[in-house]
Symmetry: C3
Subunit: 200 residues, 3 copies
Amino acid sequence: MFYTIDILGTIAFAISGVLVAMNKKMDLFGILIIAFVTAVGGGTLRDVLIGQTPVSWMKDMTFTYVILGSTVFAVIARNKINYLRTSLFLFDTIGIGLYTVVGVEKGLSADLHPIICIALGTISACFGGVIRDILGNEIPVIFRKEIYATACILGGLSYFLIRKLPIESDFVFMISGAVVILVRLLAVKFKIALPNIYRA
Amino acid sequence: MFYTIDILGTIAFAISGVLVAMNKKMDLFGILIIAFVTAVGGGTLRDVLIGQTPVSWMKDMTFTYVILGSTVFAVIARNKINYLRTSLFLFDTIGIGLYTVVGVEKGLSADLHPIICIALGTISACFGGVIRDILGNEIPVIFRKEIYATACILGGLSYFLIRKLPIESDFVFMISGAVVILVRLLAVKFKIALPNIYRA
Amino acid sequence: MFYTIDILGTIAFAISGVLVAMNKKMDLFGILIIAFVTAVGGGTLRDVLIGQTPVSWMKDMTFTYVILGSTVFAVIARNKINYLRTSLFLFDTIGIGLYTVVGVEKGLSADLHPIICIALGTISACFGGVIRDILGNEIPVIFRKEIYATACILGGLSYFLIRKLPIESDFVFMISGAVVILVRLLAVKFKIALPNIYRA
């Protein structure tokens, strides 16, 4: 089941990359690269930082096939992709929930401090988008608006809190992933943002 | 012989970096760094992704000396470099041909899937230029125009096709490198580009 | 003592990141990330290139705490930080002196050529700022002005010169760090820059 979720997240990330790349009038190769780095960039950075190489997408071809498929689909359906905006938002939100917890657990298995694990979870979930924006020559959108990374950080925190309870590890995984998803959904629904420090 | 070609490619990449950096009015240090990342950035990213560290240019000083020499030369001859444009284009094209096949073979020796090997070849050949453009605050040129990466992908594909024939491995290397070079030369000569998806 | 200096450098780097991020009107998360990459980005790149992973800040929590503290402080004191400009300049200069020599010694312990060691020292000291500027969508400031990287290169060179003298290794460390600091201070005081190659 986690695997299915993972693939939904990958699809959402890849398509968000395609949309950004088309917005920048990139050619087909550029679109494919941006789809790819958006989908796997965060996990790749995480793997490189902790030294787990070759990085994970090089060892499991599913990601490559899913990204290629999503890219072809999104380019062909480019005029209709707007109808999917809500689904994509949901996939993306589910994706960051999952990626966050996967990143946290990779940090734990490398014996790192909880704060570092939370950072790795946030990197896994958010830095694909950061690299996408850098390649598109923009200041990364997650540095400027929306509760996005914050949802990942809160989910990572909850992982370490819940873990102390007498709960099976699968549930720890699911609940903390759900925290990421919930925080993001609530933040978008109620237009909650980080406090603005630029007034007066 | 491959080594000589490698050095020609390094010279072409380094000088292309110098030209971009001077265009951005960078100082001498900036010019040197851009020359360096253009020449070794792709191979460095490849090595980091598959975990072959310290990365290769740190272990063979030839690259460093060639890049330093090319940079000094290009800065001194900056008003006359236009006369060399055709040679540089040829060196660059030969360079990506060679880098592509070297990248493919590094992927094979790390036991990776052919598609990943082709990706590594393309990264080796093209991502020095991508990093150069990011440091110069531009959307990478290979995402926007020209058959460039596509030539590398086709060369990588041909590597795996030719390999099935009863041919010596040196020839597989040379023929697939030649495919990259040929595709690029033909694409430039006949102004072939990827299909434009932005019309109507 | 070196540890204290290291922390002063980290503080200065983190605060310089905060200032750049606030200039770009980033939100609190963005500010924190920019503070972080400015402070640890150079050392992280160095560690990844030579394959010393997990990278060093993941293994010593002091850096994380110092960066978190400096960020909170700089955000709260944002209207008064101008009074600290001279101290910050000094911390930063001391920081690059130290980071340079630490980088050189990491290269030596990985058995790399002196020129590569000097490059690693310069990367350690300067590339946090480079990544900061890329994330803020600017051409890196050290590519355009000021003796900054050049001070690191000269300090690295002096390390290998002094090392040949019959001097204890602690002194080699201190003297070459001092060379970086001195060159930078003199360059700023006397407005020395790299030769301008763009005139006529």
